[in-house]
Structures are given as C-alpha cells and as structure tokens.
C-alpha cells in the first residue's frame, strides 16, 4: 500500500447510527406518524399523532454530484431545515422542514440554481440509472446522458401531479441491469447486437476457460484451440449479445460503435399496490446510440408518456393501463411496430403465448 497506516485505523465499525441524523421533530414522532398529504408537487407534510408536522421538500438531483454542489445543498439545509436532509431511493434530495414558512423560500432558492422541485405523487420522479461511459467497462450506452436528456424532455411531469399515476423510469447501460430496469414503468436498456470479438492471443492468460463457457446463458461458447493456444469460440447463431462472457472474461469485448444502442421496455412495477409487481416488457427492440442527446430515444419515451397521460384512467400505472387496453391496442395507439423481436424465444417463452381468445379488436 502506498501510505502508512495510521494507528487509529478501525475496521468493521459499520455505518454511523441513523439516530444522530434524524431531525429532532422526527425523533420525537418516530413511528407515530398518522397521515400525510402533498401540499403541492414536491412538497409533503406528514402529521404525527402528537399533532406535530414535518414538511418535506423534494428536489431533483443529477445523482452524479460534485462535492461543491453537495456543500451548497448543505447550505440550503442549514438555512431552511435546521441542517437535516435525506436522499430518497430514487436519488432525490429531501429537505426536512419543521417550519412551514420555509417551504417557499427554499423552493425559490433551489429553482434559482436550476434545481426543480417535484417528484411526488402522480409525477415522474428521478431516473434510476447506472454508470455507463462514466465508470463502467461493460456499458453499451451512457446512462447519465440518457437520464439527463429524457428528464429534460419530461421535466413538466416532474414538477406537476398531472399524470394518472406515478411513472418510474430507469436506465441501465447493459444487460446486468444495475438498477430497476426489469420492473420499471419505462426502462431504457443499453444493448449490444454483435457477438463478442474473441481475442484468442490473450484469452488463456486473462480468463478461465470453463468459467467462460459456463457463463453463456444460451450455451453459445465452446472451448477451442487456435494457433496452438487454448481459447473459446462463439456460435454466432446462438449468441444473443448479453455480454455475460465479457463480464467473466475481458478477452471477449462486445462494444461496437455502430451496432450498440438501446431497447425500450414498458409496463413494469414493483409496488404491490392494487396489482402484483410486474416485469417490464419490450416496447422498442432497438434505437441507435445517438449521443449527446439521443433524439430517437427521448422522442420515443415522450411519446409513450404522452399517450399514457392522454389515455390511462386515474390510478393506473403504465402496466395496469396496458393490461386493461390490451397490448395490441398499446402498439396501435402508440404507433410502435410489433416485430418478431417482441415475441419471446427464451426458455419458457411459450408461457407468453396467448392461450385464450380474449382479444379486443
């Protein structure tokens, strides 16, 4: 190691106890909340049995934050929230206010710095996303860039309650899906569309061959010997570009500027509210990587949200809405083409075939 260990080095102490970070008003009413209300988009009030109330102002976040920005956020919390704040499971910043009078001044300061307030109730909250070109080696697209352009487009839905229900959007930069892509109302997924390139010269040094072979979900990888060196080969017919081989073996990169891109998925949900949790389903098999602003992607997402907003009934999540109107109608009214790629062909795919005559024409 590069530096001297200092004597005080401690291990396995775990995180600080949350207790010390709770606003005194929260501490007093911990576990004794009675109900809540959204005073306006981005502002919640929770009332306790004691009659005390805590006001939450929820602010958008780029998630990727500089320490300078965090410190400025701290200034805001000091000024308006007695120095207490929290982050949400979707990376928003929540200021916890004992004093109702502070709400509007805080919002004013936030907005002045370009920080929208919203994300509550029937809105589109922040995008759950991943590392992409910022920090990951397996990415097929950039997550932060997509999240940014999409939210630029949907900003009005963040700061209002005008949707039929909450819409949860996620972006993942590869099939590892570090996040919520598989169960999101709208999900954008980075995809490869070419089999890995096998670097036979290096493979044996960098990878364990049995592990690499075992990594492939469709058994597309076989051990071979190339120029006297043990290596692997990929059956191009069986490969569906998932990248799991590359995760296991760096000698099998998949990234390809012209063929990588994203697919779009809709109708997932996690909450047990009304209906069961649902997986997201394929809506658009492929859109190109067109940085910096991915116009095809933002347009498609906007389109789906707008059609949903115009057609769904109150309380319907996107998946619930589509289940009601039926998938054929979804494709019809969004104008998205239904292709062979939409038909599942992985193991157990026939469970998705329509074994009923229930159809809407």
């Amino acid at each position: 190691m590069a530096t001297e260990p200092v004597p005080q080095r401690r291990t396995d102490i775990g995180p600080p106890h949350y207790d010390q970070f709770l606003h005194p008003l929260i501490k007093r009413n911990y576990g004794k909340w009675k109900h809540h209300e959204a005073l306006k988009p981005g502002v919640l009030v929770h009332t306790a049995e004691s009659g005390e109330a805590i006001y939450t102002v929820r602010a958008a976040s780029a998630r990727l934050l500089s320490t300078d920005f965090i410190k400025w956020v701290c200034d805001m919390a000091d000024k308006y929230a007695d120095g207490y704040l929290r982050f949400t499971s979707r990376n928003n910043i929540e200021f916890l206010l004992a004093n109702k009078e502070n709400i509007d001044p805080l919002i004013k300061d936030l907005n002045a710095r370009g920080v929208p307030v919203g994300g509550t109730h029937n809105s589109i909250s922040g995008v759950v996303h991943t590392q992409g070109w910022i920090h990951c080696h397996t990415s097929a697209t950039d997550a932060s860039g997509l999240a940014k352009t999409i939210m630029d487009e949907l900003d009005e839905y963040f700061s209002s309650h005008k949707l039929p229900q909450r819409v949860k959007i996620a972006v993942a930069c590869c099939l590892n899906m570090c996040g919520a892509v598989h169960c999101s109302d709208i999900a954008i997924l980075g995809i490869h569309r070419k089999p890995p390139y096998v670097n036979h010269a290096n493979l044996k040094n960098l990878c364990e061959i049995p592990t690499t072979v075992a990594a492939c979900p469709t058994a597309a990888i076989r051990p071979v010997t190339v120029d006297g060196k043990a290596s692997v080969e990929v059956d191009r017919e069986k490969c569906m570009y998932c990248g799991n081989c590359y995760t296991t073996c760096p000698a099998m990169p998949l990234a390809d500027a012209d063929n990588d891109g994203v697919s779009i998925w809709v109708g997932g949900k996690v909450a047990n509210a009304r209906t069961r949790p649902m997986f997201s389903k394929l809506a658009i098999p492929y859109l190109p990587n067109n940085p910096p602003r991915w116009p095809e992607v933002t347009e498609a997402v906007k389109k789906i949200v707008d059609v949903y907003a115009a057609n769904a009934k109150p309380w319907e999540r996107i998946g619930e809405w589509i289940e009601r109107i039926s998938w054929p109608k979804f494709f019809e009214i969004t104008g998205l083409p239904f292709t062979r790629y939409h038909i599942d062909d992985f193991r157990g795919a026939n469970k998705t075939y329509r074994t009923t005559t229930h159809m809407k024409f």
Binding site: V6, H135, K148, M177, D256, A257, N272
Partner: protein, 399 residues
C-alpha cells in the same frame, strides 16, 4: 459554487448536456474538474466516448483496503496515455446511514475527505444504496479509508459478499411502516459486517427492507432477501376523516377506492365505510388514497421474500414469499437465524456465481425450504403445481 463552470478543454458534445431544465451531471463533473485533475481527465475521456460511441474503461483489477475484500471497484482507463489522470479511477462504496438521513455536518465532512483523496465526484447514491465516491487512485485508498473510519464511516459491500442493506424511510417519516426498517437495517448491517467486507459467498447477497407492500426500495425486484412490512389484523378506520376526502375535487369514493380495491372488500353505505379484512390482500391501495381515514392494523410485522435478481443467466427473478408473516422486533433473532440457515445451505450447495434465487430454482423450492427448516406453506406459491411430474416418496407416503 459556479453555475456554469468553464473548463479549458473543449467538450462540445457534453456541453449539449448542460442545456435543458434538468440538473446536469456534466456541470457536476466540470465543477469537480475545476479542482481535480482526475475529474478533468474524466470529462475529457467521456467526451471521447461521446464521439466514439463506446465506453473507454477496462475491466477492474483487484484493489482494496487492507483486511477488506470489498467496498472498492477497481477501474482503469483504456486510454491511459491520453487521459493519464484516470489511468486508475476506482470507486469507493461507503455504507450509507439507514434511510439515507444526514446532517449537513456529516455530509460536509464526507465531502472534505473526498476532496482530499478523490475526484470530488460522488453518486448520492448508488442503486444498491451506498454512497459512491467516484474515482480515485490506488494509493489514495488506504489513507481515505483511515480517515473515513476515524470519522465513524465504513465501506459497503461489493463482489461475492453481503451487499450494503438498505431501507425505505419507514417509521422515520411514514405512517405506513409496519416495522422499524431503519432499526432492522442498522442491526443486520452491524451483525453481518464480516460478510459485507469479506466476500465469502458464491455470489452477491442483497438485503432490502420496505416498511409496507408499497415497497419503496424495490426489494421484491432487487434484493435476494426482501423484508416487506405487513399487518394481519384489521385496517383501522377513522370514519370521521372520510367526509374531508368526499369533499375533494375530482375524488370519487366508488371509482377511486371501492372499485379499485382488487378484492372488492370495501363497502360504503353513504355514512360508514367497512372493510371485510378477511378478504383484504393488503394491496395498500385504499390506505394510499385515504391515509387520513385508513391506517394499517396493529398486529404488524413483515413478510419475508427471497431471491430477486437481474436477468443474467436464467432471466430476471422477483423475490417470492418464504415466510408470510413474522414479528419483527429487536433483537430480530428469528430473522437472523433464518438468514444464517439460508447462507449455510447456499455456501454448501451454491455454484460459483449462483445467486440464492437461482439456487432455489435449481434445487426446487420444496427441497430448499426443507433444507432450511421451513414447512411447506400455500402462501409460498401463486398456485399449486400444474404438471403431474411429482417425485413421490413412496416410503414416506406409505406411512
């Protein structure tokens, strides 16, 4: 803090992402870049990616701090000659406080430490829940860790370890909480420190605690071990609060509550709301819509579900019910025992890179629960089997 920090390097592609109403991560990187050479090379490399339409990072090697096997994600640039300051650009996962609560004092301290040792860039937070300190060099890891622990912070999980448990805001600010998600998260995190810091499992293992079936940390989709608050007695009704809702513009009790109840177990006679609690499936909808009038029951605890994960290898899994209802009170012995029995079985029988949900799929739920000492229970399944391929144990059946 500058609103639009200017850099001496041209980033025409990324500059496009400083436009628009949403907060810009590019601006954030630029802010950091005004102080950090690493952040400066990061923005240059990312601009390059935006031009090339591919990422430029290599597989991470094994880096870490002494005595720990996890908490650091090693990362190396594939264009180190061009961007030498991110030749090494490791992230540090710091275990967040339960519920993501902070004081400004604590946050400032964290920022200061990171300014000294890293790029000045963070993710608040990573999708598992950690504080992500984004980008530093190998030589900075140990000093940063030392400072961190001195201030009372510790690393989170990575690799084939228990991952940093996370939870919803729960009883700290939510009236729906059926158990103390923060207390349980803190307790499990402390109890399982060793398994978080020293990867010893076949693969990763994630805990997520939600206070009620709204599941605000998405446990059912994203955690191997998912603890979701539950009640098993009657929903409490405050009849006097109903008129207020009836008065709301656009509110229609029948359309918005009664008809939306999936089990149609709510009745309203014009004066009194009644719920047939035996029929209620705890979907939360009525409580979500009318929190002033309806409250969760008093006999609270949690449902324990197992096995969610992302798609690779066999397709994504959601967690499924293991224990329909368990009381959830300190010292949480019952749940910890259950975790231990699961780990014992997984350690012994799990394949390399096999998540616990995949193990259950492979050995079968009935065998799995038998091995961990649970009885078969119809709550574990949506419905009994449809195929007749039953492995009868005749000797047993003959008894």
């Amino acid at each position: 803090m500058e609103d639009k920090p200017k850099l001496d390097v041209p980033t025409p592609k990324l500059d496009e992402l400083e436009k628009g109403p949403w907060p810009s991560f590019v601006t954030e990187i630029k802010r950091a870049a005004t102080k950090s050479a690493m952040a400066r090379d990061l923005v240059r490399q990312v601009e390059q990616s935006y031009n090339d339409r591919v990422g430029h990072w290599k597989h991470g090697g094994l880096v870490g701090v002494r005595g720990y096997g996890s908490g650091i994600i090693g990362r190396y640039s594939g264009k180190a000659e061009q961007f030498p300051e991110v030749a090494q650009f490791h992230t540090v996962r710091v275990n967040q406080p339960a519920g993501w609560f902070y004081t400004t004092k604590a946050l400032r301290e964290l920022c200061d430490m990171w300014d000294r040792h890293g790029s000045g860039l963070t993710n608040m937070h990573g999708s598992t829940g950690d504080i992500i300190f984004l980008g530093t060099k190998t030589e900075e890891l140990e000093p940063f860790f030392t400072e961190l622990t001195q201030k009372g912070w510790d690393l989170g999980g990575s690799g084939s370890a228990t991952r940093t448990p996370s939870c919803c805001v729960g009883p700290a600010r939510c009236e729906m909480a059926c158990y103390d998600t923060l207390a349980l998260t803190q307790d499990l995190t402390m109890e399982f420190q060793d398994t978080i810091h020293r990867p010893a499992w076949p693969y990763k293992f994630k805990f997520k605690m939600s206070g009620c079936p709204n599941d605000c940390v998405s446990g059912i989709a994203r955690a191997d071990f998912t603890i979701i608050g539950m009640w098993r007695d009657a929903i409490r009704i405050d009849q006097s609060a109903i008129p207020e809702y009836l008065g709301f513009e656009g509110f229609d009790l029948r359309r918005d509550v009664l008809d939306k109840c999936p089990t149609k177990c709510i009745e309203w006679d014009g004066k009194k709301l009644s719920i047939n609690d035996k029929e209620c499936n705890h979907c939360m909808h009525c409580l979500n819509v009318m929190p002033k009038a309806l409250r969760i029951g008093k006999d609270t605890g949690a449902t324990i579900l197992l096995g969610a994960k992302a798609p690779i290898v066999e397709g994504a899994l959601m967690s499924s019910v293991l224990v329909p209802f368990m009381k959830m009170e300190p010292p949480f012995t019952e749940v910890k025992d259950l975790v231990q029995r699961i780990w014992d079985f997984w350690e012994e029988f799990g394949n390399n890179r096999e998540r616990v949900g995949e193990l259950v799929t492979r050995v079968g739920l009935a065998n799995f629960i038998e091995a961990i000492g649970l009885e078969p229970n119809p709550y574990m399944v949506m419905h009994p089997r449809e195929n007749p391929y039953v492995f009868y144990d005749v000797d047993e059946a003959a008894e």
